[in-house]
Symmetry: C2
Subunit: 257 residues, 2 copies
């Protein structure tokens, strides 16, 4: 059997930060892979292994990173492509699929598998109570790969039919304005009292939770590490007394109009 047929590519996610949220499957793959490919902070979450090669790269080159990983797998390496969170939610799984789709035919025969993980919105939801307890939408605010008009129409539609909304990639240094524009769209449709949560780096040492309303929300508090959750019309808080943050939850029951 040639080296090319013994290569291997796993697409995995570490979860949002702490080891306690990394699945045993992902931990086992990290222990087996000869090479790790991923954005620097996600690769840094993986246990150190002196015999493993780390190809840590900048975040903006997902498709190049996917191709590099596939090339190494085709050459017989056992490669793990590492995302934070779940690789299937605004992360590397789609980039790897695109690379295979547009790459050499031999990549389709490679032993490639994708493995689920805990995504940032789920860690945020757990920390808060149950804000995603009703029907919800998940939208990336980045317009690097899609026109802003598409994002705007989706936000408006989601608000009109009262989905809870989780926003990924809400802001970056290169894209500071989208989150302001998004809140303008939401303010045109939703009640000013709608609950908003900025859940930053949940589970990590720099975690910061900010619970507010659509009327009072200050989008300048949002950065790349923030998951923004926008309540539906029934999302509410449960006060727990002094010194304790309230719970935030979206009731399962929707009344008839």
């Amino acid at each position: 059997m040639s080296a090319a047929t013994t290569g291997r590519l796993w697409v995995i996610g570490t979860g949002p930060g702490p080891d306690r949220w990394m699945t045993p499957e992902t931990a086992a793959i990290l222990a087996e892979a000869t090479d790790l490919v991923g954005y620097v902070p996600y690769v840094a979450r993986c246990p150190e292994r002196p015999d493993q090669i780390r190809h840590a790269s900048d975040n903006r080159v997902e498709i190049d990173r996917a191709r590099h990983a596939l090339e190494m797998a085709a050459a017989g390496r056992h490669v793990a492509v590492v995302s934070g969170g779940d690789p299937g939610v605004f992360a590397m799984a789609a980039a790897v699929m695109e690379a295979i789709d547009h790459g050499p035919a031999e990549w389709r025969a490679l032993d490639v598998t994708v493995h689920p993980g805990v995504s940032a919105m789920q860690a945020a939801a757990a920390r808060l109570g149950a804000p995603l307890g009703a029907d919800f939408c998940v939208i990336s605010l980045s317009d690097n790969l899609k026109p802003w008009d598409v994002v705007a129409r989706r936000l408006k539609a989601a608000a009109e039919v009262d989905f809870v909304i989780a926003l990924y990639n809400p802001a970056s240094k290169a894209r500071p304005r989208q989150i302001f524009d998004a809140f303008e769209i939401l303010r045109g449709v939703k009640d000013p009292a709608t609950l908003i949560v900025f859940a930053r780096a949940v589970g990590r040492p720099d975690e910061r939770i900010h619970i507010t309303t659509l009327a009072d929300a200050d989008p300048s508090l949002v950065d790349m590490a923030t998951c923004v959750i926008i309540g539906n019309s029934a999302t509410k808080t449960i006060e727990r007394g002094p010194g304790r943050e309230p719970w935030v939850y979206s009731p399962r029951t929707v009344s008839a109009d």
Copy 2:
């Protein structure tokens, strides 16, 4: 300190089935809890411990189950409320929050925490490639707790702005018709060639994957253990040759109109 102040309630999820998808945090809680409360098949996934009491119940009484768990925690027990998947996605976290919200004031002071897990759509997405790689919506088709009209409007809006859609609770013996009605709504809006996946019991011995199109989809194949994924207009397959299921993925890039 009274027994009442030393009680504990964890809201956890086992993941969609196999142990390899259960987080270490959840496994540690299962090893510590004195009592497990949950729907029979989810409790059955937890490792056996002779010193632990299992309160396994029928699926239709979430709010009673939540109250029972809170009563035991208030009496000093260390109780884990067990969902399949992620407790925050159409599972017990919202029911526990509702029970606290409408229950005795002392429940608000209890030591309650929610912990994230891998949800069924994520296991299905990983198995398929990256169908959730673009903006997506998550909708429960059950009309036990919300009017069908709300579900219908959300489905229509989600289709019109081209979200990928994941359907939970698509059908049960008591509700066999909703999935047919949902497909009728989708057929009124979306291209007949839209990719559809029925991903049943992913990761479990009775797993069954069915990839089809909106024109050809037969909703009678869908049961309670099925996660239905409806592609957006760009969702596509990558053929991998004889004997291998194609990949299904939603490209990250959306072209301008």
